[in-house]
């Protein structure tokens, strides 16, 4: 009786054996030492400047260039034609019967602009806008005619005719673009003067006379705005203007150095006179300023506070190229100026106080001063600084946003026991650098530094020709591990600080075929599992 039970036991044993064999194997942890490349690249000074502000010359020497317009004074500044408005009204004094088509009102008027010492005789209008408002209070339509006798286009006078219905108003706009203005008045001997006329009649289409009643009224308002001349001539007067210019400069914005010794530079200040009038220029002050550090320096040069006379431009009477400008270049060198001081403080703005006097010798052109639109009195500063520099103890600081995502479970970073990030630098610049990287919190408080002590990155040596033949290798070890990760998690900013020293006693050359090749290698001891 017991036998049949045995196979059941076999079955149970089979099941238990089978199920008990299913075990997930969880291997032990062990530690491995790994060398893994993380990143690589090249740092070149040229990368830090806008492309248009840096170039390499035939010998690959880097140059910083900038061209800034310090001042530009045009027609609008010197001799702008003001907006003006003419308000005219006519009230019928007595009751009178008048036929259609016969003017019952006629007015010829001269308007003289107040341009102070400027005495313009002719102008060509580039842009303008004329608005005419007409009001008719009688019971018949009226034909108004408005004309500017001084304005002609291809021999035709500017003339507007408008029908205003009975007891109605009318507003219309026109332009004088392209019209030539004769500003000598009705007699042709005056200046700054235009001649306009206005007449009104019962519209000729009417068939019956109109009986005017004493007190009937007509009102006209003529407004001229936004006159931009293409060309003006006359006498521009003897006027003096003081300009306080403030020009932003962004060429150095990407270079986070605080100061450097620039030993060679080519800076010119070009005064360009495109106005047909003599000028006297006095640069009272030219100063550069770094608004971040507050550092500033004023230019010492013979041009400062010395009057410079600039003869008038020449009218070529060719509308495609109407003016021959008169230019004068002022050259700044380390021998005649201290401009290097202005550049070395890494300026982000230039400030200039300029006094410009027009026609200092009076009306020697006999009223033939001229100016064309777009041909101004300008002062350009052109800068070309070959990067032949000497730097001793120059501090370079750069702070950038930083966000560290802390190692999460199953993240390989979470398995690191200890190790370092090795920054391998192949420096082809003849500049030593002592580098430290600081961790800052959101309030810029110092948390820690990445390096136990500042690391020295050796600069390469130049040969007699100022050329680096062999790169200098340095390895900066950045210790990493869980403690650092904790600090990085609290870090909001990374501040890189470098103290730069050019190699040797002389100035060194920064070339665009040089650079610092960097390779970041993780040298870590890590667990195979969390």
């Amino acid at each position: 009786m017991k036998r049949p039970i045995l196979p059941i036991y076999f079955g149970i044993a089979f099941f238990l054996l089978f199920t008990s064999c299913r075990r997930d194997i969880d291997l032990a942890n062990w530690d491995v030492d790994a060398l893994v490349p993380v990143a690589h690249g090249t740092i070149n000074f040229a990368d830090f400047a806008p492309e248009e502000n840096v170039y390499g010359d035939g010998e690959s020497l880097l140059h910083l260039t900038a061209a800034e317009t310090l001042i530009s004074l045009g027609l609008d500044t010197l001799i702008g034609i003001p907006d003006y408005s003419i308000d005219t009204g006519f009230v019928v004094p007595i009751s009178i019967n008048f036929p259609p088509g016969v003017p019952f009102f006629y007015q010829l008027e001269e308007t003289k602009f107040d341009l102070k010492d400027v005495e313009l005789t002719r102008a060509l209008i580039r842009e303008s806008r004329i608005t005419i408002f007409l009001e008719n209070t009688i019971d018949k339509p009226v034909l108004f005619e408005y004309g500017i006798y001084s304005a002609t286009l291809d021999g035709d006078t500017f003339l507007v005719q408008a029908r205003v219905e009975a007891n109605d108003t009318l507003s219309r706009s026109f332009t004088l673009d392209g019209y030539e203005l004769d500003l000598r008045g009705e007699e042709g001997t005056d200046f700054n003067t235009i001649v306009t006329f206005l007449q009104a009649m019962i519209h000729p289409d009417e068939t019956q006379n109109h009986q005017f009643t004493a007190g009937d009224e007509f009102n006209i308002k003529n407004t001229v705005k936004g006159v931009v001349p293409e060309f003006v001539t006359g006498y521009f007067g003897n006027q003096s203007v003081l300009f306080e210019e403030d020009e932003a400069l962004d060429v150095f914005a990407q270079f986070p150095y605080q100061s450097v010794n620039i030993t060679d530079f080519d800076v010119t200040l070009t005064i360009d006179n495109g106005i047909g009038a003599d000028l006297k220029l006095n640069i009272q002050e030219l100063r550069s300023e770094n608004t971040v550090t507050g550092a500033n320096a004023a230019l010492n040069h013979e041009v400062i506070n010395n009057n410079q006379l600039y003869p008038r431009a020449i009218n070529l009477y060719d509308l495609t190229d109407p003016v021959k400008h008169i230019q004068k270049k002022l050259t700044f060198s380390d021998e005649n100026s201290n401009l290097d001081e202005l550049l070395e403080l890494r300026p982000d703005r230039f400030l200039a106080n300029l006094d410009i006097e027009v026609n200092p010798l009076g009306d020697i052109s006999l009223g033939n001063d001229f100016a064309y639109y777009g041909h101004n009195i300008s002062a350009f500063m052109q800068m070309d600084v070959p990067l032949v520099v000497s730097a001793k103890g120059v501090v370079l600081n750069d702070t950038s946003d930083f966000q560290f995502i802390a190692p999460q479970p199953n993240n390989p970073l979470d398995r690191i026991n200890y190790g370092s990030l090795n920054l391998i630098l192949e420096n082809r610049y003849p500049i030593d650098a002592e580098i430290q990287v600081y961790l800052l919190d959101t309030f810029n408080n110092l948390l820690d530094s990445l390096l136990e002590s500042p690391a020295l990155v050796l600069g390469a040596e130049e040969n007699n020709l100022g050329i680096v033949e062999f790169a200098e290798q340095s390895i900066v070890e950045i210790p990493i591990g869980p403690a650092l990760f904790d600090q990085l998690e609290l870090t909001n900013y990374l501040k890189i600080s470098a103290v730069l020293n050019t190699v040797g006693v002389d100035s060194v050359h920064l070339r665009n075929n040089s650079g610092i090749e960097y390779k970041l290698v993780a040298d870590i001891n890590a667990r195979t599992k969390k």
Binding site: L6, Y9, I25, A28, A34, V38, G41, D523
Partner: protein, 415 residues
């Protein structure tokens, strides 16, 4: 109680003992053909190159100690370090037809096999990392491995023309559950002195059955195999000599078209993420997807396909003296295919206490190891038979030198 003890013993042994020799048993159950039911269980793990000390720490502890790791690396062969694992759990039976010479056989089995050959350099790379090879090129070609788990349902027939002779044959349907086959013919890794450059070259292939369909008896392939053999006895030297010959798992599995295949033949150099613009590091790190030409090369060659793979079968023969009581001697050999298995030969000597109980000590050489020592015991009664065999005693005695342990349990009930 004794039976319960035996069942418990089976479970414990099934969990913890290991068997070197393949598990399946011969079907001969004695001088008279009879109906029977058997339970066979065995787990085999063995390697002459790795050690029990290392493997047990690797599998059962939380931390692999540096001392064990270093000792293990010292003992590895430069070119080939083989390890193998076999597991089988089988319910077998026979139905003797009309108490005659013919017996209908059946078998249901769950089988797993894993083997791997690891060059020393590959083990060094995995266990110590690449730092110690800075400035050098590490060649770890020859890494390969095979893993397979399948279930078998078999029917067969045994013919016992005389009490001492039996022939058997079974045809098995094979359900392929899980499969992985990797072979790296060429592989090296160069690490520059400073670690700023890693270069590698890989050539080989990898096949894995559907990774989304896992679990006991899931169907990822199908196949068939044959088991056949015979048992005979003859007189000599005043005793009976029993000779068993068996061929097991002669067949193959076709893994279905969801099997993932990779073939790779690529060289790749990694120098880190290139940062063209140092002033904008964060975005460039973010934009850099860490794919590389190696991954690309592999991905291009990934495909899904059917794949035929021979089962890791074997052919075995054993000659064993049988006395009523007293000392017995014998020996045998095992050959395997598709299993990374060297020919295994052994001598077997023992003592039979009476017709019911005998014990044998075997000493063999080959397989996944070198010298291997085993101990077996047989308990035979008219309706019940139990065999237990423990091998790789050398690995238990010298855990720092050998790895493995093998065990077979065979319980049979004859009606």
């Amino acid at each position: 109680m004794r039976l319960a003890f035996l069942i418990s013993l089976v479970q414990i042994v099934g969990l913890q003992i290991h068997a070197q020799k393949p598990v399946s048993q011969n079907w001969w159950k004695g001088s008279e053909a009879t109906s029977f039911v058997s339970l066979n269980a065995g787990l085999n793990a063995n390697s002459a190159d790795f050690s029990n000390r290392f493997l047990s720490e690797l599998i059962f502890s939380d931390q692999l100690s540096q001392e064990v790791l270093n000792d293990e690396l010292k003992g590895l062969s430069q070119t080939e370090n083989v390890m193998g694992l076999d597991y089988e759990l089988a319910l077998q039976g026979g139905w003797n037809i009309k108490s005659g010479a013919h017996t209908l056989l059946f078998k249901a089995a769950d089988v797993a096999h894993v083997n791997a050959s690891v060059p020393k350099n590959a083990a060094r790379l995995i266990l110590t990392g690449n730092k110690s090879f800075a400035g050098d090129t590490l060649d770890f070609s020859g890494l390969n491995g095979l893993g397979m788990r399948f279930q078998q349902l078999a029917v067969g027939w045994q013919f016992q023309p005389t009490p001492s002779t039996a022939f058997f044959a079974l045809i098995c349907f094979v359900n392929g559950e899980q499969y992985a086959d990797a072979k790296v013919d060429r592989s090296w890794l160069y690490t520059s002195v400073l670690g700023d450059t890693l270069s590698t070259s890989l050539k080989g292939g990898l096949f894995i059955s559907d990774t989304g369909n896992v679990g006991f008896a899931t169907h990822n392939g199908a196949g068939a195999s044959l088991d056949f053999g015979f048992h005979t006895e003859f007189q000599g030297e005043g005793s009976i000599w029993q000779f068993d010959f068996a061929v097991n798992n002669l067949g193959l599995v076709q893994w279905n078209k969801k099997t993932i295949g990779y073939n790779f033949d690529t060289n790749y150099t990694w120098t880190g993420i290139e940062i063209p613009d140092i002033t904008n590091i964060n975005e460039q790190f973010a934009d850099n997807v860490l794919t590389d030409s190696l991954g690309g090369g592999v991905n291009e060659n990934i495909r899904k396909q059917t794949r035929n793979e021979w089962l890791p079968g074997y052919v075995a023969a054993e000659l064993l003296q049988r006395r009523d009581a007293g000392f017995e001697t014998g020996g045998g050999w095992v050959l395997r295919w598709n299993a990374n298995f060297d020919p295994y030969v052994y001598l077997k000597n023992g003592y039979r206490f009476n017709e019911h109980i005998a014990t044998h000590l075997s000493v063999g050489y080959g397989g996944y190891g070198t010298v291997q020592v085993g101990l077996s015991g047989i308990f035979e009664w008219s309706h019940f038979m139990a065999k237990a065999e423990v091998r790789n005693i050398e690995a238990l005695a010298l855990p720092g030198r050998f790895a493995g342990g093998s065990g077979i349990i065979n319980l049979s009930y004859m009606f």
